[in-house]
C-alpha cells in the first residue's frame, strides 16, 4: 500500500462512513493485520465503536477476518482489502452501466446494494419497488415481478452474486459443512461457492407502496419493523447478494476495447468486436489473455440483424482486423471459416500505452510526445540518434529529454566501454519501460483524486454557512408550499437569499460539479492502468 493509496482510502472512508470508520480503517491499512484488542488499543477508541466500524467495513466487503497467527484457538485477526475501498470511486460508473443495460430498475437495484453492501433479494426488491412507485405519477405503482425479473437478469449475466457463506461454528441454513475458519491469507472467493449465481425461490408478490409525506416518520419506522419480521417469511434469509465488481470491470474493459476499435478502424469493425466479446462474456475466465476461439460462422450467425453485412464482407473485415498493427483480433485456426480470438492482454497493453503517450503529449507538448513514442518503439537510443529520428533540433531535443528524465518517464541506461565508468567512454542510452511508467502514472492518478476530493471538501467547508442558509430556506419553502401558503409569502422567503449570495451558490455548485466530474474522469484512467498492470501479473 503506497502512501497515496492510503491517503485516498482515508478520504473515501471519511466521506462515506465518517471519522470513526476512517480512523479505524486507515490504521488497519497501515498495520496490516491486527486483532480487535490491539486495534482498539492503538486507535484509542472505545471497544464498541471499533466493533461497529469493523462491522460496517465487513458489511461492504472491505474488511475480512480469519484465524490469527496463533491458529484457530487464538484471537481473530482482521485485515483490510484496499481494492474494495478504491472501488468506491467507481460506484457512479457501476450505477450508470446498470442503468444503460437494464434501465431504471437495474440502476436502483445496483444503487441499493452498493449502498448497503449486502442485501437479501426480497428486501432489495421491496425497497426498489417503493422508490420507483414514489417517482411514478399518482395511481400507478411498480409491480414486484418487474423488479424481480430485472434482478434475475442481473444475476444471470453475473453482475450480482451471492456473498460467500461464512463458515461458522454453528449449523447454517444452507447446510454448509462445519469447516474451520479459513486462514487470513486465503479468503474464499465467491466463485468457489457452486451456487453463486442461483436465484433463491422466494414468495414475493405485491406492489410498491407509495409513501405519503404526512406519514413520513411513522411509515419509515413501521417499514423498518416490517422488514425485520418480513424477512423470515420470504424464504431467503441468510442469502445475501453483493455486486460482482469483477464482472463490471470486464464490462468496462470490453467497452474500452470496442471504442478503441471504432476510433481506429470504423463502426462495422467495432460491431464485430462487440459481437465477439458478447459471445465470450461468460465463457472466458477473468484473467485470460485471449477470449475463446470463435469461428467466423458463429460470428456471422450471432451478428445483430440490424447491420446486414454479407458473409464475404464480414470475412474481409475480420482479415483487416487481424492485419491491423494494433492486433486487437488474432486468427488461431482455419476450421469453421477461420477461428478468431480477441487479444485481451495485448489490447490492454495498447490502451495503456496510448494513455501514457496522451499524458506526455498533454503535459509536455507534441515534440516530447514524439520523442517518447520514438523511445517506446525503438527501445534504446543514444542522444544523437534521438535527434536524428525525431527531426528535432539538438538543443531542444536535449532539453526535452532531460525534462522527461527528471519526471522519471524516461530512464537512462549506461553501457561502459571500460571497466571504470568513465563518462567519456560510456554509452548513455535512453529508454522507456512501459510497466514501471504505468505504475508511476497510477500513483499520480491516486494523488490527483485525493487532491480533488480535498479541494471539494475545502470548498464545501469554506461556504458552509452559505450552504446551510440555502438549505434552511429550501426547507422553509417546502413546508410553506405543502401547507398551501400564498405567493407573497413564498417570494418573501426566497428573497432572504440575496442576489450575490445566489450567484456565489451557483459558482460553488459549478465548482463542485466540475471537481466531481474530473474525479470520474481520472477514475477512467485509473481503471485502464490498473487493468493493464493486473494483466501483466501472473494469475493468482
Amino acid at each position: 500500500m503506497t502512501a497515496q493509496e492510503v491517503r485516498l482510502c482515508g478520504l473515501l472512508l471519511q466521506e462515506h462512513f465518517g471519522d470513526v470508520v476512517e480512523k479505524v480503517g486507515t490504521h488497519l491499512i497501515c498495520s496490516g493485520v491486527l486483532t480487535l484488542r490491539a486495534l482498539a488499543h492503538e486507535t484509542k477508541l472505545p471497544l464498541d465503536l471499533v466493533k461497529k466500524s469493523l462491522c460496517v467495513l465487513m458489511q461492504h466487503g472491505m474488511c475480512a477476518f480469519g484465524a490469527g497467527r496463533r491458529g484457530p484457538a487464538g484471537p481473530v485477526e482482521y485485515h483490510i482489502i484496499c481494492e474494495h475501498i478504491l472501488h468506491m470511486l467507481r460506484y457512479p460508473r457501476y450505477i450508470y452501466t446498470a442503468k444503460s443495460l437494464y434501465g431504471d430498475t437495474g440502476e436502483l437495484i445496483v444503487e441499493e446494494i452498493l449502498q448497503s453492501g449486502q442485501m437479501t433479494m426480497s428486501s432489495t426488491v421491496k425497497t426498489v419497488a417503493d422508490r420507483l412507485t414514489h417517482n411514478m405519477p399518482e395511481g400507478q405503482s411498480m409491480d414486484y415481478s418487474e423488479v424481480v425479473s430485472a434482478f434475475s437478469r442481473l444475476v444471470e449475466t453475473h453482475f450480482l452474486q451471492r456473498c460467500p457463506p461464512m463458515a461458522s461454528a454453528g449449523s447454517s441454513s444452507s447446510g454448509a459443512v462445519n469447516t474451520p475458519l479459513p486462514a487470513v491469507t486465503q479468503p474464499t472467493k465467491p466463485e468457489d461457492h457452486p451456487e453463486c449465481y442461483r436465484l433463491p425461490y422466494i414468495n414475493l408478490t405485491g406492489q410498491g407502496k407509495r409513501r405519503r409525506s404526512s406519514e413520513d416518520g411513522e411509515a419509515e419506522q413501521r417499514a423498518a419493523k416490517k422488514a425485520k419480521t418480513d424477512n423470515s417469511e420470504r424464504g431467503d434469509e441468510g442469502i445475501y447478494w453483493q455486486v460482482n465488481f469483477q464482472r463490471f470491470h470486464l464490462h468496462f474493459r470490453d467497452q474500452a476495447i470496442i471504442s478503441a476499435v471504432s476510433c481506429k478502424l470504423d463502426q462495422a469493425s467495432s460491431e464485430i468486436v462487440r459481437t465477439m466479446l458478447r459471445m465470450s462474456e461468460v465463457t472466458t475466465p477473468a484473467h485470460a489473455a485471449f477470449t475463446q476461439a470463435l469461428s467466423a460462422n458463429e460470428i456471422f450467425r450471432a451478428f445483430p440483424s440490424s447491420y446486414n453485412i454479407a458473409r464475404p464482407i464480414l470475412d474481409q473485415y475480420l482479415t483487416l482486423l487481424v492485419d491491423d498493427p494494433m492486433e486487437f483480433v488474432g486468427r488461431t485456426g482455419d476450421s469453421g471459416g477461420g477461428m478468431y480470438v480477441v487479444n485481451l492482454h495485448r489490447a490492454l497493453a495498447n490502451l495503456a500505452r496510448a494513455t501514457l503517450e496522451s499524458v506526455v503529449q498533454e503535459r509536455f507538448g507534441s515534440r516530447s510526445a514524439r520523442i517518447f513514442r520514438l523511445l517506446l518503439r525503438k527501445r534504446h537510443l543514444e542522444q544523437k540518434q534521438v535527434e536524428d529520428f525525431a527531426m528535432v533540433p539538438a538543443k531542444e531535443a536535449k532539453y526535452m529529454l532531460y525534462t522527461l528524465l527528471s519526471e522519471n518517464l524516461v530512464q537512462l541506461q549506461e553501457i561502459p566501454k571500460t571497466p571504470d565508468y568513465a563518462p567519456s567512454r560510456t554509452f548513455y542510452l535512453y529508454t522507456v519501460n512501459q510497466l514501471p511508467t504505468a505504475r508511476l502514472l497510477l500513483q499520480h492518478c491516486y494523488k490527483t483524486v485525493g487532491n480533488l476530493i480535498e479541494r471539494r471538501l475545502y470548498e464545501t467547508k469554506e461556504n458552509k454557512r452559505l450552504l446551510e442558509k440555502s438549505q434552511r430556506i429550501e426547507a422553509i419553502l417546502a413546508s410553506l408550499q405543502a401547507t398551501g401558503a400564498e405567493a407573497a409569502q413564498l417570494t418573501e422567503v426566497e428573497e432572504m437569499i440575496t442576489a450575490p449570495e445566489r450567484q456565489q451558490l451557483e459558482t460553488l455548485r459549478h465548482h463542485i460539479n466540475k471537481l466531481d466530474s474530473s474525479e470520474n474522469q481520472v477514475d477512467e484512467t485509473i481503471f485502464l492502468l490498473e487493468s493493464y498492470i493486473n494483466s501483466t501479473q501472473a494469475p493468482p
Binding site: 474481409q316 503529449q361 513514442r373 474522469q521
Partner: protein
C-alpha cells in the same frame, strides 16, 4: 682498323629524367624502380636516384608506396603547377587534406599525420587558405569543430547535415511544413477512401500511399528549394509515425516497379488515435481561472 668507338649513351641527368617521365606516361599507374632499371640498364644507381630526387623536389613526380615497394607516378601537370612555390611542409599538409576527400580533416588529425607542431600547421593552413587552395567547413555535429578540405570539393552530407541543414542551422520550420503537408496528403487520401463506401478491403488499399507517391506529391508542390530524395521523405514520414498519426506497412514488390527498393515497398496511411485524451489530463489545475 679504325677503333670502333662505342658511343656512350649520354648519361645526361636531364635525359634520364625525361626518360623516366616518358616511362611514367607509358604506365599511368606508376612505375617501380625495377622498371626504370630495366629500361636504362646502364644508368648507375646513384644517377638514377639523383634523377628521381630531382623530379620529386621539382614536383613532377609522385612517390607512392604499395605492398611491393615504391612507385613513382607522374604528377598531374595542373596540380603540379598549383603547389609550385610552396615549400615541402605545405605540400605535405596539402597532400594530407587532399587525401581526406570530401569528408574533410580536422587540425588534430593533420598534426598526427604530418608530425608537425601545431603552430606550424596553423601557419601553413592560413597560407593555403589565402591561396584559395583549401577551405574550412563547419561541422554540424560539433559547431566549434572545423574540418578542412580542398577548395572546389562539395562537403559530404555527414558534415553539413544534408537537406535539413542550411548553414549549420537545423531548419525546423521547413521540417514542420513538410511534416504537415505529408500528413494532409495521407489524411485526404484516407478520407477519400472512407467516403467511397466500397468494400472494406478496397477502402483500406486505396487509403495506402507508397513513399514514392508521397515523394512525387511533395516535389510537385514545390515548397522545397532543395532537392529532396525519397530517403528524405521517408525520414519525414517516420517522424509522422512517431507522432502517432501514420502507420506503415512493408510489402514485397516486384523489382522494377516504380519506387521499390530492394524488392520492398513502404506503404503509409493516416490513422486516428485509439483513445481520446485521457482523464488524468482533463483535471483542472485549481489555480487557473479558466476552469472556474
Amino acid at each position: 682498323m679504325t677503333e670502333v668507338k662505342v658511343k656512350k649513351e649520354s648519361t645526361d641527368p636531364v635525359d634520364i629524367e625525361n626518360r623516366i617521365k616518358e616511362l611514367c606516361l607509358q604506365f599511368p599507374h606508376g612505375i617501380t624502380d625495377q622498371v626504370i632499371q630495366n629500361d636504362m640498364p646502364h644508368v648507375e644507381v646513384q644517377q638514377r636516384a639523383m634523377a628521381i630526387n630531382r623530379l620529386l623536389s621539382v614536383g613532377q613526380l609522385d612517390l607512392l608506396k604499395n605492398s611491393n615497394g615504391l612507385l613513382y607516378r607522374l604528377k598531374d601537370a595542373q596540380s603540379a603547377s598549383k603547389v609550385k612555390g610552396s615549400d615541402n611542409q605545405e605540400k605535405l599538409v596539402y597532400q594530407i587534406i587532399e587525401d581526406a576527400g570530401n569528408k574533410g580533416i580536422w587540425t588534430r588529425d593533420i598534426r598526427y599525420k604530418s608530425n608537425l607542431p601545431l603552430t606550424e600547421i596553423n601557419k601553413i593552413l592560413k597560407n593555403l587558405e589565402s591561396k584559395k587552395l583549401i577551405k574550412a567547413v563547419k561541422s554540424v555535429a560539433a559547431s566549434k569543430k572545423k574540418v578542412y578540405m580542398l577548395y572546389n570539393l562539395q562537403p559530404d552530407r555527414s558534415v553539413t547535415g544534408g537537406a535539413w541543414y542550411s548553414d549549420q542551422d537545423f531548419e525546423s520550420e521547413f521540417v514542420e511544413v513538410l511534416n504537415q503537408q505529408c500528413f494532409k496528403f495521407l489524411q485526404s487520401k484516407a478520407e477519400a477512401a472512407r467516403d467511397s463506401k466500397q468494400s472494406p478491403m478496397v477502402q483500406r488499399n486505396s487509403s495506402l500511399a507508397t513513399s514514392h507517391e508521397v515523394w512525387k506529391y511533395i516535389c510537385e508542390l514545390g515548397i522545397s528549394k532543395v532537392d529532396l530524395s525519397m530517403e528524405d521523405i521517408e525520414t519525414i514520414l517516420n517522424t509522422l509515425i512517431f507522432d502517432g498519426k501514420v502507420e506503415m506497412t512493408i510489402i514485397a514488390a516486384k523489382e522494377g516497379t516504380v519506387g521499390s527498393v530492394d524488392g520492398q515497398m513502404k506503404l503509409y496511411r493516416g490513422v486516428n488515435p485509439i483513445i481520446q485524451p485521457t482523464g488524468l489530463v482533463k483535471t483542472p489545475c485549481g489555480l487557473c481561472p479558466v476552469t472556474f
